[in-house]
Symmetry: C2
Amino acid sequence: MSVHDDSAGSQRGYIIPIGGAEERDGDPSILKRFVEICGGERAHIAIIPTASRMRDTGARYQRTFEGLGVKRATVLPYEQRRDCRREDWLETLEAADGVFLTGGNQLRLSTTLGGTVVARALRRRNREGQHIAGTSAGAAIMSEHMIAFGDEGSTPRANSVTLAPGLGLTERLIVDQHFRQRDRLGRLLTALAYNPKAIGVGLDEDTAAFFGGNVIEAHGSGALTIVDPEDVEYTSMDSSHRDDPVCIVGLRVHVLTEGATFDVVSRIARPPQPATTGR
Amino acid sequence: MSVHDDSAGSQRGYIIPIGGAEERDGDPSILKRFVEICGGERAHIAIIPTASRMRDTGARYQRTFEGLGVKRATVLPYEQRRDCRREDWLETLEAADGVFLTGGNQLRLSTTLGGTVVARALRRRNREGQHIAGTSAGAAIMSEHMIAFGDEGSTPRANSVTLAPGLGLTERLIVDQHFRQRDRLGRLLTALAYNPKAIGVGLDEDTAAFFGGNVIEAHGSGALTIVDPEDVEYTSMDSSHRDDPVCIVGLRVHVLTEGATFDVVSRIARPPQPATTGR
């Protein structure tokens, strides 16, 4: 229906928000698929551990990606805004086939990278074909409108969510993570009630939304909750007081599991396709 | 420096946020200039009074614009989301040379127009050359990130501002209005501290930012405060608790009065040029 400015054509790289706590040992199926998309054994992955306060987060992902057989996995430990001017890191970032943003605090990402040449490079390179995955905080930062923090509970309440500008890889989505585990439907609905223009994507842990072209595909052990406000007839957000429940009429919701898809342009959801077998 | 996706070329219409309480009788210099840009006596202005709860807001602006000699001023009183599907109003909106968004509550605008064909038409028509002015709430709604509400005071404090998605005519600016009158520097700085990527524009009452091409020009009886976070070295927003003051290092601030300009690409501010006189 609407064709946003950020509609990108087939050339844009995948945007892959992950709900946090993705499997990294046993069967790391989300990270494996990310690696495949990036070129498998030819892939060069850049890891940005900025969201995390733990020193070894980057190195741990480096080992995971190396274990998955990539050609190279490089940690770019941006800690200060001035780090964003390091030419050598920028070259590595530009050359990578895929970029992985770790979990932690999304405000560490937005305050450290926001408005810098690194943020601009990520936007541009993604438009040109670089794939960008992020887990938890790394998922939240991807869209133009980022949920910075908020309250738990499944009823939307005025003021239960704080939005902040994110990386802006897409304007189409607002992403929330640890979705079922932390009971976050209410805050996602609140975010949409302010302005029913983006599509809400709630990601369970160990679950990813592979967003390529116009299609989002669910992957992982949990579910992906799509909240489509296109036909919303009414929200009471403009007249709600702090902590009031917010009235919203006309949402469409889809809960997608492994292999199910949602087209952000046609707004059509499809269940998983049965595997095609020989006759 | 950065060239955003929303850079538009010379063809884009003006975006004209006004700080509220603009002069409408005596010398309505801001509205007069808006009318001139729209074609003067040939201009057709569409008025959207959605933000206001007062019945006569649209009609009052209609009389003001008629008094300024426009060819036609039409009120489009969108009240419900379903109104956005009215074909006749949409045709009027599409055909207008300029659109004026009145004051009131910006969440009335975002909840009523957000995600509808009206919002998309405004974005598209502005890119094609339609000029869009808005006062107070009508100014707040224009950018991609809108200040929905917040606290007063000049120190930025964590959680002192609530952002919501706006119309998205530009991603480059975050606008706040009634700026000096309501002591809103703190909340504007808070909004920038989340992610120092947009440029903050604080508008005093009876003061407008005429934003055409890459240049913002101040017009009116007050000042326009530009807060440029491009060189911000540090913000503590990621580690601040609710109501904590937020540390921000490296902001550049310009206070522009009538005729002074700021280029959003080169980030250069220029004082008012002396009128060129014959020798």
